[in-house]
């Protein structure tokens, strides 16, 4: 499947907040009720369309456990977008946001778009963090904000797509240098004019026809 752009995402946040579930819901439209602790870093991909353009999202789902922090950090580099997730039923996951944010800012490109996500919005009865608090935090740190539920799929699609829209807008505005892969953005095989052999490994890179 050819694409116009490829965006790299990373999902971060405390263990158990639902990072893997968000990814699974986005890529497979499934929900996994059991906490399948992520050990290391997992990977998912999906195609979306923005502004009529096919965009491939390459998503890195990291382990939230403290002991894996050094490993997961090495994945920040080259991410164009980050989903910073907390669990609205657990205040400690909200309190740790600052640490996560510092980590992300330190190890990633400065242009990285960060979406703050309050997950498990289906568990309204057990809510521990008000929506307003999430909004305030996002405002204060210049993040986009959304509450989602990986269980009901509410806002999941939107979270991933809105982040992509923001990145796309930044590209349009010339904020991102799309030729620098460290920014986590890649131009699709048939769209790039330079180095045709370089970018294609799988997919129809061979038929490098002219521009669309």
């Amino acid at each position: 499947m050819s694409y116009a752009y490829l965006f790299k995402y990373i999902i971060i946040g405390d263990t158990g907040v639902g990072k893997s579930c968000l990814l699974l819901q986005f890529t497979d439209k499934r929900f996994q009720p059991v906490h399948d602790l992520t050990i290391g870093v997992e990977f998912g991909a999906r195609m979306i369309t923005i502004d009529g353009k096919q965009i491939k999202l390459q998503i890195w789902d990291t382990a939230g456990q403290e002991s894996f922090r050094s490993i997961t950090r090495s994945y920040y580099r080259g991410a164009a977008g980050a989903l910073l997730v907390y669990d609205i039923t657990r205040r400690d996951t909200f309190n740790h946001l600052t640490t996560w944010l510092e980590d992300a800012r330190q190890h990633s490109s400065s242009n990285m778009v960060i979406m703050l996500i309050g997950n498990k919005s289906d568990l309204e009865a057990r809510r521990d963090v008000k929506k307003e608090e999430g909004e305030a935090f996002a405002r204060e740190h210049g993040l986009i904000f959304m509450e989602t539920s990986a269980k009901t799929a509410a806002n999941v699609e939107e979270a991933f797509i809105n982040t992509a829209k923001e990145i796309y807008q930044k590209i349009q505005d010339g904020v991102f240098d799309i030729n620098n892969e460290a920014n986590g953005i890649k131009i699709g095989p048939q769209h790039s004019l330079t180095n045709p052999g370089m970018s294609s490994s799988s997919g129809g890179g061979n038929q490098s026809s002219g521009c669309c």
Binding site: D36, I39, G40, F43, W60, I71, Y75, G197, S199, S201
Partner: protein, 854 residues
């Protein structure tokens, strides 16, 4: 395997049904499936590396044949020779054929080989060296002549692993390389235009990189201290954080095999590595579980073949790790309650359907035991269709737990398992669900109805209200029966007639629903008339004091039935029934309403008005009697007569009333005076004064009438006389046509012309172009026709009248019927006929014969 004990193993390989060992004496040993070993000497000095191709029976070896001249280089592995063996061919000495021998020295700098690999297309062979060089052989690697070598890359670090990405036929050849500090990907393009991509700035030691199989997308796998990393040709992929000092990593059919140093926590000096003991861990990557983990003394290599994993330990023993069969693995998973893993394992192993179902069941049981009933039902649902529904039912029956049956039912229903959803609904008394499913999904109306019939009164009532309409539409008879039961004396159909509660003294309470609330379910139903009638008749029979609504409705039904009945005798019978109902003093219908209805259905209303009057008479309400007469006297003048008879029969003084009644009778000329007198004569109290005015007036009127009649008689007589003379005249004397103008064009007449006795004359050509009929005068024709029509219509009037009404009642669009009649001109006559006074007058003055009109 005792024979291994004598071998000083230096290298191993496996594949194509055999394990291969190289030793420090230059020998190669092959062990086949039957544990038969064969050996031959391949190098004079020693064997250092082995590589077995998978798709070809070709073995590549690295070893030493001679001692280097420079004693400083007299180190193991310097000046290595690569030999390529075709194991399918035997040479003259009975050994496998060595098709190629080539020195493995990068650029004249002797250095140890660290790894060797070849592409399955037999066109690429790469050798890695301690000094960081990679020597690439291109062209047919089995033949001396066709293959050229070059240094592909010189790293600052020791090359620790080389792997070709397989399954990329037709695409550029991809080669992964690990050094102590890097991971690199080479894209080997034609004409040596290679593209090098550094994938990571971290490397790994020797033996710690491996190619995964297609299940992991042929990624390059690197084992490092902190984790196992996967690499794609264009970058780093996922990673698994398995900590520990890794000695070797292998890949075997979806399993990642790690050999690491054992770390024992010690209270004295921190972590101590117990020497010589290694931990071997087998990860099932896809199912994310550890398939095996255990200590073994000093693992030197891991070989895979014959469907098993062989671990070679320092004491030259081979330890077999056999893959457990799926069932055993599943049991392990069950013990650990890792059901979702079990399911994905079973599915990935193409486990049979029943087996998977059983896992779902066990998982369900497990969740159920933990109190996660919703989760449990989700699992049970997956078993439905295979597992007996009763199992699920039984499981979900627990009284003590608050089981979310609704979810279960909903899920079953969504999944199309209606039978099971029904079971659940019935067992859990979810009547509403039961009925919804039965009616909307299964559409078994009989069953639904029977089900309602078994419910307790309030539930039965509620559900019949909700679903009555659809039931009535589908199973009218049964629904009506149930309704009758429900509104009479309801008992659930499967309960004993006398229930225990009533036996111990308590007065049996009769439960019945209000029939009024069920009439609506008959609406818009083509069985409406029969069934509703049946129901209502039943109701007034068992409860004569039924509500006004019931009676009203029944009256309407009866009237409708009458008006629709074409067959005379049946109609008479129906009318009789209607009358019985209307006249029955117990009937609680609303009079006004009933009247409107009677009018609507054109039910010969008299009886009914009389009914009302009678009603008031029975109650002695004089005022109302007069009122009623005034209101309905128009329709039924007999009311006044009835009233007169009533008042005149009264003992008390009803002078006022009688006078009033009389004046009305008088106005309408309802009774011959003689009859009035007779009627009044019955009344002892009626004095002459009461009737005097009436009689005087009547007599006066009679007189006037007589005079008028006489005058008319006289007039008719003269008229007749006149006509007679006219006719006579026409017959006997010549008629003189002295008309001078043509009646059509109004121009002076000239010949030829046409003359009529009606005194109309025409030019011949005018007449011919205008007249419809030769014998008729065009001017008089319309008038004559009209008169003829009137006569004819009067003859037919009765038939027409009835026909019209029938048509009107049956037509969906009554207006169009009326319009049609209008169009045919029938209505003019209709009014003529229905209007009584008009009829009378027209009869009194018969149409005059045509000649007179002209």
């Amino acid at each position: 395997m005792s024979f291994l004990q004598s071998i000083d193993i230096s290298a191993t390989a496996s594949g194509r049904g055999q394990l291969i060992f190289g030793d420090h004496d230059g020998n190669l040993h092959f062990i086949d499936r039957d544990l038969q070993m064969s050996s031959f000497k391949a190098y004079i000095l020693r064997v250092t590396h082995l590589y077995q191709l998978k798709q070809h029976n070709i073995l590549i070896t690295v070893g030493n044949d001679y001692t280097p001249k420079n004693p400083r280089d007299d180190d193991e592995g310097i000046n290595p020779l690569i030999k390529v063996w075709n194991l399918d061919k035997i040479d003259r000495s009975g050994q496998p054929l060595c098709s190629r021998i080539v020195r493995a020295v990068p650029g004249n700098r002797p250095t140890k080989v660290t790894c060797i690999n070849a592409h399955e297309n037999l066109n690429y062979m790469a050798v890695g060296f301690e000094n960081g060089c990679i020597l690439l052989f291109k062209g047919d690697i089995t033949k001396e002549r066709h293959s050229k070598s070059r240094i592909l890359y010189e790293s600052a670090y020791m090359i620790t692993g080389i792997e070709f990405k397989t399954h990329t036929s037709g695409k550029p050849v991809i080669m992964f390389v690990s050094t102590l500090k890097e991971v690199i990907c080479f894209n080997l393009l034609p004409k040596d235009r290679d593209v090098k991509t550094v994938l990571d700035q971290h490397g790994c030691p020797v033996h710690c990189s491996v190619m995964s199989d297609i299940s992991q997308d042929n990624q390059f796998v690197i084992g490092r201290q902190d984790a196992v990393y996967f690499y794609q040709p264009d970058g780093r992929g996922p990673c698994l954080a398995f900590e520990g000092d890794k000695l070797r990593i292998h890949w075997y059919r979806g399993y990642l095999v790690l050999v690491s140093k054992e770390v024992k926590p010690s209270s004295l000096i921190g972590n101590v590595q117990s020497p010589g003991v290694h931990i071997i861990t087998v990860y099932d990557i896809q199912n994310k579980l550890i398939a095996y983990s255990g200590p073994l003394p000093e693992v030197t290599d891991v070989l895979c073949d014959w469907g098993g994993l062989y671990v070679l330990t320092g004491d030259n023993r081979l330890h077999l790790l056999q893959e457990k069969d799926t069932q055993t693995k599943l049991e392990i998973l069950f013990k650990k309650n890792l059901y979702h893993l079990a399911i994905s394992l079973a599915q990935s192993q193409q486990y049979d359907q029943d087996g998977i179902i059983d896992i779902f069941r066990q998982y369900g049981d497990h969740l159920y035991g933990k109190g996660d009933h919703d989760g449990a039902i989700q699992q049970y649902i997956k078993t439905i269709g295979k597992l007996e529904a009763s199992y699920v039912i039984r499981k979900t029956e627990g009284r003590d737990v608050d089981f979310d049956v609704q979810t279960a039912i909903r899920v079953c229903r969504q999944a199309g398992y209606y039978k099971h959803a029904l079971f659940l609904s019935e067992h859990h008394q979810q009547h509403d669900w039961y009925l919804k499913i039965q009616l909307e999904d299964i559409k078994d109306y009989d069953k639904a109805l029977k089900y309602i019939g078994k419910l307790n009164f309030p539930e039965a009532e509620h559900n019949l209200k909700t679903y009555g309409k659809i039931l009535m539409a589908e199973v009218p008879m049964e629904t009506t029966e149930l309704l009758k039961r429900l509104c009479t004396d309801y008992k659930p159909s499967d309960k004993p007639l006398v229930d225990a509660a009533n036996l111990d003294g308590g007065a049996p309470t009769v439960k019945r629903a209000n029939p009024d609330e069920f009439i609506h379910i008959f609406v818009n139903n083509h069985h409406k008339h029969d069934k509703l009638t049946e129901f209502l008749e039943h109701m007034i029979k068992v409860q004569p004091n039924s509500s006004v609504l019931i009676y009203n409705t029944l009256v309407e039904l009866y009237l409708q039935a009458c008006s629709h009945e074409m067959e005379i005798s049946a109609r008479v019978e129906k009318e009789r029934k209607t009358l019985d109902l209307l006249q029955n003093p117990e009937s609680h219908y609303d009079l006004d309403q009933a009247l409107v209805l009677c009018q609507m259905y054109n039910f010969k209303a008299g009886i009914l008005y009389q009914q009302i009057v009678q009603y008031h008479m029975d109650h002695g309400e004089y005022m109302h009697i007069i009122e009623t007469c005034k209101r309905f006297g128009q329709q039924d003048p007999n009311l006044w007569i009835q009233a007169l008879a009533y008042f005149s029969g009264k003992e008390e003084d009803c002078k006022q009333q009688i006078i009033e009644v009389l004046s009305h009778i008088d106005d309408r000329n309802l009774l011959p005076p003689l009859l009035v007198i007779q009627t009044l004569a019955h009344n002892s109290t009626a004095t002459l004064a009461v009737v005097k005015d009436y009689i005087v007036r009547r007599l006066q009127q009679e007189n006037d009438q007589i005079q008028e009649d006489e005058r008319l008689i006289e007039q008719y007589r003269t008229d007749t006389e006149k006509m007679r003379t006219q006719i006579n005249e026409l017959k006997t004397s010549a008629k003189l046509f002295q008309v001078s103008k043509c009646s059509i064009c109004c121009h002076p007449l000239d010949l030829p012309s046409v003359h009529f006795l009606c005194q109309h004359s025409y030019h011949q050509h005018c007449f011919e172009s205008y007249a419809e009929h030769e014998a008729e005068c065009p001017v008089c024709l319309p008038e004559n026709r009209k008169i003829l029509d009137i006569i004819r219509a009067q003859e037919q009037s009765r038939d027409l009248h009835e026909q019209f009404h029938h048509q009107l009642e049956r037509a969906q669009d009554g207006f169009s019927v009326i319009a049609d009649y209008f169009g045919r001109g029938v209505f003019n006559k209709m009014t003529l006929i229905t209007d009584r006074s008009a009829t009378k007058s027209s009869l009194r003055q018969p149409p005059r014969p045509p000649p007179r009109k002209c």
